[in-house]
Amino acid sequence: MNATTYTKTELMICVASRLFEDGTTCFIGTGIPMLAAMLAVKTTAPNLVPVFEFGGTGAILEELPRAVGEARTFHKGISAAGICDTMETAQRGFIDYGFLGGAQIDPFGNLNSVVIGNHDHPKVRLPGSGGGNDVGSFCWKTIAIMQHDSRRFIDKVDFLTTPGYLTGPGAREVAGLPPGTGPAYVVSTMALMDFDPDSYRMRLKALYPDVTVEDVIANTSFELVMPTNLDAIQAPSTDELRLLREEIDPLKFYI
């Protein structure tokens, strides 16, 4: 694969990495969020403070962590504490961003990672919330990273694991979740989405190269809010691809 061709996953990681704000604290979940965080640190957000739920804060991300507790999550870090420390830090408002994945997402950014089908007799048992629900409850802004297809982008998730905007404006606050929190973006394999400030429903924000609005609509089982102006996403740069392939995931766990 040369520098002008790239996979959907590589592009998704690049798009996610460009959303990290330098100098912020950020909860990083297992998988694609780890790659995106590493790419961000090596490009636009060198002063990002990664927080991993089992206790690692401020690691220098030299090698890709394969687990949220492994030593790479506190490598040359500023602290190696425990899960209470990281979660309580998030609960009292110190964590700016949370990056999450899931099996299903709905128009309000609610995520499912518990079961497909009925809870007590599931068609597919998924791993469970882990720290996902906590990250979605406590972080100021959350960003979901998802494969884009019509089975994953659905009107109602089978099990509401991680809170997005729940049922719409004001619902988080009514439920008791900290005010001013909630999903900011959804990064998929087709497009970047944000949330309409009036309805709190997912809104198309920018299309990936060679993807049309029709493609996105065909792969989304609910009605996306359409923006006045559609942005275009830039293809991965040679530098981004080199970093991803040579430095971040040379053993090809994800890409």
Binding site: A71, H75, H119, P127, S129, G130, G131
Partner: protein, 325 residues
């Protein structure tokens, strides 16, 4: 206080804080006693069919794998388990030992959804899955560790997590905001792996502490496995490093490479091929059984396990360790 919402999940380990105090008064010796024993002895003495048990940290990180394999070898059944797990709980699920779960996350992380979890839950072999987030299950242990019956938290609110948990939602009587009340969790048995302990059970951990502090203080029986058994004087030289004091501990098991194929911070790194072997073999029930035969049932003990792995791979994992420099 008015209950605004109640989870429908079963409280699978009911608790009594005064009974816990009494237990800690009468059943936990304050004397410095040599508690060293083998995996076989510790598991047969303290783990019983139907008990409520937890492990710390998890699967590929500072996990008590030698003890987890011994639980399978002794076929301790109908276990009620809390966790977070990667390899250890996955092995128990594959061995058919788990009856009820306070589940937070059982996954293979980079390798995805564990087929043995799917088989065990989708077939109904696991009777109940009560859902909790990682923070909420740890705060449940923290409540027990504090000696109080519950802790309020702003987690799980507004979601199906709350509904399928055993938490309750109330209004804070001071400010009126809604909070989830998390019931204390007192485990019958906890098993925790650490870098070093003395023969009395004083434990020191390097790297992240996960939920070792909370779990060690929230259980009736605590089995420690340690990479190194050090003299008491060594512990006393660095008392600031002691995260588990001896009087919490019931058994001390010397388990070098006890977390293998997972890692131990600053001692050895994870053996990717060793982890991948379980991932690949557990794809089918037959494969999982074959793995259990190869690495558990056909081996007498942890020493035999390490012999099977061989010095070369163990040395390689030491080479791959996280370093402080």
């Amino acid at each position: 206080m008015e209950i605004l919402e109640s989870g429908i999940g079963e409280l699978i380990q009911p608790y009594d804080m005064d009974e816990f105090r009494e237990w800690n008064r009468t059943q936990k010796s304050r004397k410095l006693i040599d508690k060293r024993m083998s995996e076989q002895e510790a598991i047969s003495k303290f783990v019983f069919d139907g008990c409520y048990i937890g492990t710390e940290l998890y699967g590929t990180v500072r996990a008590p794998m030698s003890l987890a394999r011994e639980v399978i070898r002794q076929n301790k059944k109908d276990l009620r388990v809390c966790g977070q797990g990667v390899l250890e709980l996955d092995l128990w699920l594959a061995a058919g030992l788990i009856k009820k779960l306070d589940i937070t996350y059982i996954g293979l992380e980079v390798y995805g959804i564990p087929p043995s979890l799917r088989r065990a839950v989708e077939s109904g072999q696991v009777e109940t899955c009560v859902e909790w987030s990682n923070a909420s299950i740890t705060w449940r242990m923290k409540a027990a560790a504090m000696g109080v019956p519950f802790l309020p938290a702003r987690s799980m609110l507004g979601t199906d997590m709350l509904k399928y948990s055993a938490a309750k939602v109330v209004e804070d009587p001071f400010t009126g905001i809604k909070v989830a009340l998390l019931p204390a969790l007192i485990l019958d048995v906890a098993i925790i792996h650490v870098q070093r302990a003395d023969k009395y059970g004083n434990c020191q951990i390097e790297g992240i502490t996960g939920f070792a502090l909370e779990m060690s203080r929230a259980c009736k029986r605590l089995i420690i496995s340690a990479e190194k058994i050090v003299p008491n004087e060594e512990i006393r030289k660095y008392p600031d490093r002691t995260v588990i004091p001896y009087f919490l501990v019931d058994a001390v098991v010397h388990a070098p490479f006890g977390s293998y194929p997972g890692e131990m911070a600053y001692m050895y790194g994870r053996d990717e091929a060793g982890i991948k072997e379980w991932v690949d073999m557990s794809a089918t029930a037959e494969g999982a059984k074959e793995y259990l035969n190869k690495y558990v049932h056909s081996l007498k003990d942890h020493a035999a396990f390490l012999d099977l792995i061989g010095t070369k791979r163990l040395e390689q994992s030491v080479e791959n360790r996280e370093r402080r420099e």
